[in-house]
Structures are given as C-alpha cells and as structure tokens.
Symmetry: none
Amino acid sequence: MISDSQRKTLEFIRRYVAEHGYAPKLHEIADGIGIKSRGVVHRYVQALTDQGYLEHEPGKHRGLQLADVDGANESENTLTLPLLGKIAAGMPIQAIPGQDEISLAEFFLGPGRFALKVQGSSMIDAGILDGDVAVIKQQNHAHSGEIVVALIDNDEATLKTIKYQAGLVQLIPANQSMQPMIFEPQRVQIQGVLVGSFRRY
Amino acid sequence: MISDSQRKTLEFIRRYVAEHGYAPKLHEIADGIGIKSRGVVHRYVQALTDQGYLEHEPGKHRGLQLADVDGANESENTLTLPLLGKIAAGMPIQAIPGQDEISLAEFFLGPGRFALKVQGSSMIDAGILDGDVAVIKQQNHAHSGEIVVALIDNDEATLKTIKYQAGLVQLIPANQSMQPMIFEPQRVQIQGVLVGSFRRY
DNA sequence: TCTCCATGAGAACTTATAGAGAACCACGCC
DNA sequence: GGCGTGGTTCTCTATAAGTTCTCATGGAGA
C-alpha cells in the first residue's frame, strides 16, 4: 500500500538517482514534487523505507543518504517500467515531459499478436539481430515499406521489408551483403507485419 | 451471485490495476463505470469484498486489492505473448520445442529497473537505434564488455560499452564512425547496465 | 396495484493523507 | 568548538477519500 504522494516521491527519487548517480536532499525532493516542507518529505521517505522501497541510513548527511532498492513488491508487479528520460551522447539524462511510465502491454500486446525468435542476420541494418524476439501482428496484407513475415511458395518463411513495384513483390533484406528477392504476387503470402522487437542482454 | 453493476465495477478495478499497478479511488471507479455517487460504488465494493472478489483495507485510500481467485490475475495473461517459433530466411517457421509463451515481465521487469529512450545512433552497431527504449538495471558497478549508462564528470550521461584497461576506463560506442573515449576511473560513474531494449514500428 | 429490490444520487460524517512550518538534532568543515 | 547544512520530529490545519445514511426511481413479479 503506497499513497499517491509516496508514489510521486519514489518516482522523483528514482529519476534523480538515475540522473545524478546519488540521492537527492529532502529539500530537492520537496521542490521536485512541488511542496515546501522537508518534514513532509521525510514522512514519505520514512513510509517508503518501512515498506521496503528505499534503504536509508538515518542521520547521514551530505552525500549518500539514500540507497535506492527494488520498487518491485510482487503485489504491485505491473506492466510498466518507469521511463526516466532520454539519453544521448554528451548530455545529461533529460526527463521527457508528461511521460514517466512506459507500458509494456501497450507496446506489445494486442489482438492477434505473437512472437518469433529471429535467427540469422538478414535484418541487421534494421537493428534486428540474431536472437532478438520479433512481435508480429497477424494480418494478410501490408503496405510497401513495412517489415513482414512472408511465406514464399507455401514453403519458406522470411522476415523482410516488403515493396510492391510494377505488379511484383520485392522482399528486401536489411543487410548490405544480401540481395532483394522479387516474386509474382501469388507466390507470396503475408502472415503478419512486424510491430515491435526486443532483446535481452 | 454477482450483479451486473458489480461485475462492471470489478472489471473496471481489474483494468485499472493492470494499467496503474495500484487500486483506484472510489471516485475514479464511479467515473469509470458512469455513475456519480461514491456511496453506490462503496456498496458494490462491499459486496465484491463479501463474495471474495476483492480484499479491502477499510478506511485506507486506494485500499482495495484484487483477491486472486482461482483464475489468477490476468496480469499474468496480459504479460505474455505466444511464442510461435523461430524464423530464419529460407525456412518455414519452426516451433521451439517446450516453449510456447514468452513472458514480458520476466524479460523486462525486476528490481531497480527503469527505461530510457535512446537518442542518437552511437550504439547502432549493437542494434540499438535512435528512438529505441533501453531497459536499465540500476547498479554502480559493471564488468568489461557490458553496456552501461555512465555519467562523466557528474555532467554527461552516455550509453556505451565499458572496458577496463590499464587502470583506465574506456567507453566504446558501437558505431564505426565514432571513437572510444578514455577516462580516469574517478571521472566515470556507472548508473546502471543495459539489460534489454525494445522498439515499436 | 402493491411490494420487493437493485440501482443511483447525494448529504453527513469519519478518517487518512497532505502540507506548512517550527523546533530540534547530527554531521562535516572550518 | 561554532556554524551551516540538512535530517528529524513535532503540532496544527485543510482537504480528500472512505463510510454510512436516507431518499427516489423504476422494473419485475405476485
């Protein structure tokens, strides 16, 4: 059980730690969540500590007072990740205004979706590597430029960018060392289009 | 025995919890099911609690909790994608034996994880493109070869492969057109390591 | 028609949570 | 040791949220 303000506090601390590498001061948290009283912030931090969201060395001053730990109480195991911001070379992490969570469900789940494990490197230039998981939305049509799972001659399945040209279907790998393949439309059956991909390290 | 409105209430609560990870307020439920009276909502919630569909801490704000009834929490269902098999150029889709589901939660959720949106193309050869979402596990140490979020001089954050060599720290971009950067260890603070990434098309 | 009962509105009440601010305590650095 | 910064512990107040009511309505069925 975690209250609204406690949640806001926790979010802020996570963001701050990610951004700076060390914990914020109570005053900074207060600023960050839009209140003025350090005492109030302390109350929230205390509550979060009690519930295991934070670790906390009492009294410690200047430097690392707060150690952040898992925010994953199993009862609150949600489909969302805190989205802390953008990272680019040469810049501090920037918060994305108005967005602080990313919903995996929204990203990947939906009617008619399934996953395929990608083998080989034919889509490497599109950032899809060997071993990645491709999320496919099942449908039997596609537009030029979409990446599709196509079945050729009812026999071979392949993941390629599709292009329609001059009454023919091109299946284009994203790999400079491989050639596009060209077929008559009736030989190519679309099984689905790529809607997402992910991998784990 | 559960009435129509009670079912609507329960469904709304389930949806809300799946989306937010915490329980709604009575007022939000009222809005959600299209009525105006918190009192009425309270009556439904009471009934659902009595029948074992919900657990309820009286008085607490957002004190509702889904009771796991036999069918389990559908967060389980919504967190998985059917995994149909492997796809490789030139082969039909092959089923992966003994594996027919892939759990997004297992892939991405865990203690201390957060997401960052990647800007720029410094990791393009590692299959991480501009706009991808990187899933980071917060920790302040890393091994050579891991991809980390590193803070340089408490100022710039960057996503790079880390390598320790001769008492120095190398941060290596995965982009042929960019050069590794070399620092003394005390200038580099590790904020987390990359554990996953995903994108949507 | 009359009763029963589920539904809904909303008022009145209680309690939880939020926030301010003050006073006090602890640490780290001259 | 004194000072400043920042953490801790209070009290007080306001508001938000949960709870408990009463009342009204409208449909189902005896």
